[in-house]
Symmetry: D2
Subunit: 253 residues, 4 copies
């Protein structure tokens, strides 16, 4: 939308390409605190939250544009009537540009919403990130680079990021009444080609928000802040290229 | 989306309220240049483009948030199988906050997209506005206040803004293929309670954009810039309260 | 600077005018915690910190521009060789536009620095404000309107804001060495013509910052955060017009 | 300022370090159009305007901060009583962060003012930049990469950027009257260590501004826009490290 201008035709051969620099931090939590969020059909593989803080640049479909992302996902297995798949289930994906939010929601059901997301601030070996809503920080993240990955370790990191599934829940409400006109699960294959990767120590902090501070979706931050952080289990910094095969996505069965 | 947090329940009694300060400028153009954009079922009432530049504040559903809007609409009559209605058909509605864009698109099919929209700059009796994408101005607008409306003139302006229909075209694509999963026209009744209104002289200028300047929807600006401005026919500045009965919207038949 | 373009001539008749909407909250603290900041010649009148959160609009010298301010001041008496004056001594004045920061520093020695300062968010009777640096909130402020001032109370508030002195310490460093080329105290008479004023309950919270979060002046936030808040003593919301007689400022003797 | 917090001590050993990615485009103009801007003592070496569009990141004194710059300079020779020096005389230096503007103006007289300056948008081999004021674009810049410099060409580019003088005119007004309390020329030695450099085709466009669009310094843009662009003479893209020896600056004699 708007479609009366005639743009945005479907092109089955189109692959999104972009450069990516990001930090991924994961932490262990309780099984119950995550299962509460999972719709029927999704099984939690392990009680782990992955926070990926990415800066995307040189994005082809944006004609050279750029945006930042903070994605909060959990590892799941989908049990459908036909499909049996593993992948990441995003609880929420904040982005600091509207255009990719619209595409992600309407085409693939990724739960994207807006936040101000700072470019990573770099004072080697230290990195910090911050996500905020109208001047109110709700997530602070820090990373300390300890070792560049090489050889087999780099190969392992590359293999892990090369290809994975992301699951979306596309839900478009009825007009003027409760319930949905569209309600479906979607798989969206993605991949990241790592050039460099660094191990490190990562941590993050959620900051609870009042309705007036964050706005109408404050409960999302507060529910995430209520998930206990038992232990940070991994932290990695990387850069490389990202490929998103948005037309390779399909409705799950 | 995301809906696994359990927020955003449908409430049939909810009325959006907000304060509004805006400038509305309309210009005459050729019939053909507008009819190109209208989907079947919509008849152009007159070859006129209305540009409404609004600042909304104290928005209840945003818990006190604010945003700016530039809406480009044309007056139409809808001829459905059952519905025969007059109203405004928005060609595009730019807003500078993502949250109302998402609601407007997914709930009522209003063709909202993002732009940076400055607060009106005021040096009485002069006002200017500017809309831009990534630092590239695509619309400049200016207004010179000439006379406050009072008595019957104010009553007429109030009557004109009190209640009107806005038509949306909700179009949600299929996943992984051409065509749509949802494709419907919606009527969204809106209204503005004017407190003060001022006549004035208005003008505006479209600035064509390259793909790299504006981004992937540059063609929207350029198609609007190609619509000839034959004559500015009215310009008004107003402030007041706005009521949007989003749950009063319905699919047209 | 730059002055080779020939702009910005001194005009002794020029008065800055602007509209103002603001919240002023003051709190009691220890005498020692404030006296540490005062240069010789300034005596603390009472151990009170005034935080003024202002939105200025329709600014004449900015040709209709606008900006927001968070000013942190303490009440002082200046004892000079000739001058004996009472007024407010700003510890720091954050503003969200650079142009007034430059003028304030270079012309009158007001300790202005930059911060992102949100427009007040209004959900009557509640108001909140936030100041942040690169996505990191360092000051949160809230206000609840309890009563509009009328009659004698309004007159008292008007009298209090009508005219007051602000003291600046203009300090311009030597080039390539320690010490200053200019080091002087300045008095800058200001005034606010209140239209409406409201009593209320106010509070605020300082949030300590790391160097990477705030940047090189993080110590300012942290020193302010270390000042104990013993008791909030007043909170007022107002709107009106502001007059700043910048050419009426003079070096103190 | 503010200095009562005790920060910002002079450190003679401090060297600013940062990463830089930039585009430099120069054009030939008429001698007269540039000589108008030069204060007495400065001789124009050739009638050439250099526009440098830089993105600085990982800045040490900003604890990992970043900012963008658009600098407009001309090549000059300074004839003082003692000093005879060649270097670049900046007509204006726009930056998108206030902190470096304050330091540059007050410590070294560089004519820095604020603008919104976009990150370079990259769709190889194309790059664009834009500078704007309150949503009003005043400078558009584009570059097309044609050839990476290697061997002797790269060595030549490196030698040219390795070390050069920048001249500032520090002018601090009197308080409450015409004229200056400080009025002096300063030389500030700077250098850029190029890692990679690319030749290309560059162009740029100035867009005239009304006072309400740009604000009180609109005349700067308009005077620059009035300088004729006879011919673009060079365009280069580079990245590398930048060293600014701010304590190596000194007053010219």
């Amino acid at each position: 939308m708007p479609i009366h201008f005639g743009g945005g035709k479907f092109d089955p051969t189109f692959i999104i390409t972009q450069k990516a620099t990001g930090i991924s931090i994961s932490y262990e939590t309780s099984r119950q605190s995550l299962e509460n969020f999972l719709p029927e059909g999704f099984e939690l593989i392990e009680p782990r939250v992955s926070v990926a803080y990415n800066m995307f640049t040189e994005i082809n479909w944006m004609h050279g544009g750029a945006y930042n992302v903070v994605d909060i996902s959990v590892p799941v297995r989908f049990h459908g009537k036909k499909d049996q798949l593993e992948g990441m289930y995003p609880l929420v994906t904040w982005e600091n540009q509207t255009a990719p939010i619209l595409g992600g929601r309407e085409q693939t059901g990724i739960p994207k919403i807006y936040a101000d997301i700072e470019d990573l601030r770099v004072q080697r070996p230290h990195y910090i990130g911050a996500a905020s809503s109208r001047g109110n920080t709700f997530l602070s993240l820090s990373f300390e680079e300890t070792k560049e990955l090489t050889g087999k370790e780099l190969e392992a990191a590359r293999a892990q990021h090369k290809s994975y599934n992301v699951f979306g829940w596309r839900w478009i409400p009825k007009v003027g009444g409760p319930g949905a006109d569209l309600d479906q699960f979607i798989v969206y294959p993605q991949g990241l080609d790592l050039d460099h990767a660094f191990d490190g120590k990562g941590s993050l902090q959620w900051i609870e928000q009042t309705p007036m501070q964050y706005g109408h979706m404050h409960f999302i931050v507060n529910q995430l802040a209520a998930i206990p952080i038992k232990k940070f289990v991994s932290a990695i910094l990387y850069n490389g290229g990202s490929r998103l095969n948005s037309v390779g996505s399909r409705v799950l069965k």
